[in-house]
Amino acid sequence: MIPEKAYAELEKAIGADNVTREPAMLDSYSWQPFLNMSGELWVARPAAVVLPASTEEVQEVVRACNRNGLKLKALSTGWGAQGGASGDDTVLIDLRRMDRIIEIDEKNMYAVVEPYVCGGELQAECWKRGLNTHIVGAGPHASPLAGATSMHGCGNDSISMSTSSRNVLGVEWVLPSGEVLRLGSPGSGAGWFCGDGPGPSLRSIMRGTSGAFGGFGVFTKVALKLYHWPGPPTVESEGTVLDSTGELPECMSFFNCSFAGEQDSVEAMYRIGEAEIGCIQVRMVTSEFILLIMPHLFPKLVRKGGAILEFLNEAMASPFTILLAGNSPGELAYQEKVLHEIIRSCNGIAMDMSRIGPARRLMGMNLLRCTIFPTVFRFGNMFATNLDGNEALDTQNAWTHTMEGYKSAYVRAGGLIDDGGENPYMINYENNLYGHCETIYLYDHRNREHLESLEPLGFDTTLAAIEQCNVPLAAFEPVTRKLMSPLACDFNEWQKKISAAFDQNGVSDTRLYTDEEDPDYDRIDPAKLEKLKELQARFRGKERR
């Protein structure tokens, strides 16, 4: 229960209509089953939720929290458990009223946006100006500001437009003290064009190892790098996702590429990166697509004809989809020629899906706006990923097999839904700078058995990550962070020092930023525990050497 004095101060700061402590309304912020790896469905009910409309109002709220010993946590669209409060003394700062696109600078190719602008909105505005913006793999409902400042933010278009954290050109940040700090060129009043100045360049401090997930003040504006858009100002599309109809813009085509073997597929991805072609590129597995378009048929296939799926997965080993976009028919023809040459040399087949009417109409807009991927919810009700890190494509490819081993064991035990394959989501960044892979597993969060498998699966995959020298992005979980930090340059010790320096009253809800928790050792298989100790000793030793 929030103290009366504190609540009155919040009301005074931003108006009574913009503050609530009504339990049912607060619970609408507590229902967070997605990415809730604890197996719980509700997170803590916050003390209050506030709706500031400006940077100044955010400052007022932060100061009120400081004065009253309350924690604070900001959220934008609030999808996933990371958007919830950690305790009942936390004030959630819902940034929904800060939803303005402040500026789109066509000449210098950047946009300045507030937290509640979603990727779809920004892209729609960019297209009208011949520009494009990166949309995270989670989909166009996610906040570009959140991805850029507080999370990771990879996506299907990362091959051409990188990842959110690398597109930041300037930030306005309300620190946990309530002061405003502007990073990058806006810090010197020089405009929003460069993340490294003139002005303070504090991008690493702002993000830490994988973003502070709302646990380090409030980001109120961000400047994002924009890219060239060779398509028209709008793309007409009707229907929803699976029955959508819309034409692919001129000078664009997309291909499904499949290979004799998975190494061929990885090699092709490398070469595509080197050739600097492609607007969108993403690897998904055959069975997942079948599942999406035929959910009623899929369980029968798995139950009665698993071999068919196995055959399809083998026959189309490690396929990926690539969308090419040219400024002219000639440029598109060049890119297609390069693609065919690469695929041929890698023992593969590139099927031009854009020549197939239904596929073109179905997939065009869904690829360009990244709208099809959240349909992964359709069958299982819920999905989770191991949220792997960013490494070379080879490393990431190997990781899919590791994950498949764990995943299939849990599927066999009834802890996950059988989706018929590995289902890695694998993309290439910035023409081969690095790659990213997440293995998707489907479950139904209404099923207790499924929920109970999440924690042990998370522990298993963390163990595997340590063994393979991977740093999972899921280091935002306190347990994973505690296990991983000592093995990776004690990154969390640095984060804690930074947090303490900027947040002297400890006002931020730091559960997903710096907090650490021990795993429930009583529930862990002793053999796995032994393995953990062995790995910790091995890698700590290496680090010391």
């Binding site: 609530t20 009504e22 339990p23 049912a24 309304m25 619970d27 609408s28 912020y29 507590s30 229902w31 089953p33 997605f34 469905l41 509700w42 939720v49 709706l51 669209t77 609030g78 999808w79 996933g80 819902d94 929904r96 009223r97 696109i101 602008v117 979603c118 779809g120 909105e121 920004l122 892209q123 729609a124 505005e125 009208k128 989909g139 166009p140 409902h141 599309s237 009707e238 929803t240 996702v241 699976l242 029955d243 819309g246 959910p295 009623h296 369980p299 869904n366 706006r369 709208t371 959240p374 349909t375 919810f377 359709r378 069958f379 299982g380 009700n381 819920m382 139904d444 969060h445 209404r446």
Partner: protein, 416 residues
Amino acid sequence: MMSCVRCSSCKWIPFNQMKSARFAKNCPSIARHGFHSYSGSGRVNMGLSLLEGRSELTEKVSEVIYSCQMCGACDTHCKVYREVIDINDVLLELRAKCVEDGELLLEHMAVIDALKRENNMLGEPKAARGEWARGLGLKDVNTETVEVMFHAGCRFSYDRDLWPGVRGSVRLLQAAGFEVGTAGAEESCCGGRAYELGYRGEARNFFEDMLARVRSSGAKMLVTACADGYAAFKYLYPLEGVDLPVEVFHVTQVLERAVSGGRLRPGRLPCKVTYHDPCHLGRMGEPFLGRWEGDKRLRLRSMSRTGKNGVYQPPRSVLGSIPGLELVEMERIKQYAWCCGAGGGVIDAFPEYAAWTAAERLEEAACTGAEALVTSCPWCERAFLDAARETGSPMAVRDLNELLLEACGESEGGDP
């Protein structure tokens, strides 16, 4: 309710349809009030909290539940990604729960009291219900057998500003050769709005009344000019097990056939208009598809109300048949349309919020360059007329039937 993953899709129009940031949002409730609990997802989450006993239904929660036009936009976008959630049904249940627990809004209680007393949503005298039709030469379905039973609906029956539209509907039907009758003063509310307010017992009485009248009329077709009525007949009645023994049409569907069949021949009417899809004729007017038994994850797409089977093309075909008329579309159309603000009892309980919602739509209409906003629902028309007056918007608001009548060179006969 547990299936909601809180992705927030329910707050925007489907992303593939997004053409600008200005008109990207789909839910008036959260756009106006801000807290997540005012969205489709938030109401579902609150419902689960109530169901699990984590929180209680209070006056404030009831206010949140009723600050919703029941426009169905949240459900349409949710269905893009999910088969398992029917947000609209959850919203209906929440309202029924409010009534069951006595957490009522005074404004709605007054409306329901008047409905029980006068058989209409406006509290007007029931004896005056048929006055709009004076001089039209309509048959009396209470005493005569008719081919077409015409249901005017409460708003059209009593709102004199809108009489040219409803009288125009009838004139056009007659001009197209239909033999039309009404129940006159005996016509009563369809009960749809009462059902949406959660007053199911009262609504059920009106459903039964309508069923009896339709049966006795001998009509083959039930035609209504009211989008709310249309949605009630097509969805709520069968949902409650009330099967009307007639084909149900919105008047625009019949007029589309009349125009395409050459029974109506509109003349030249140079103007530039945009069309507003009424929610209850569009996504909320989709027919009841039956109850899906078993795991909803496996529900066939054809059994899912996705919004795409609403009445969208008939009004556009009618407008397209008028020579010289240019139809320019807004960004949010068909199943993605922004609501007029009047629905779900909002116009009664929260008139300012209703006016704000309508004003948003008028702005969107103005962006098309149209000189008039055309619609085919009396509730929408009233909401837009009021908002235009309050905001000083120069946008003319026209009823589609009135426009077609003018193009056909017919007259609705003037004020009765």
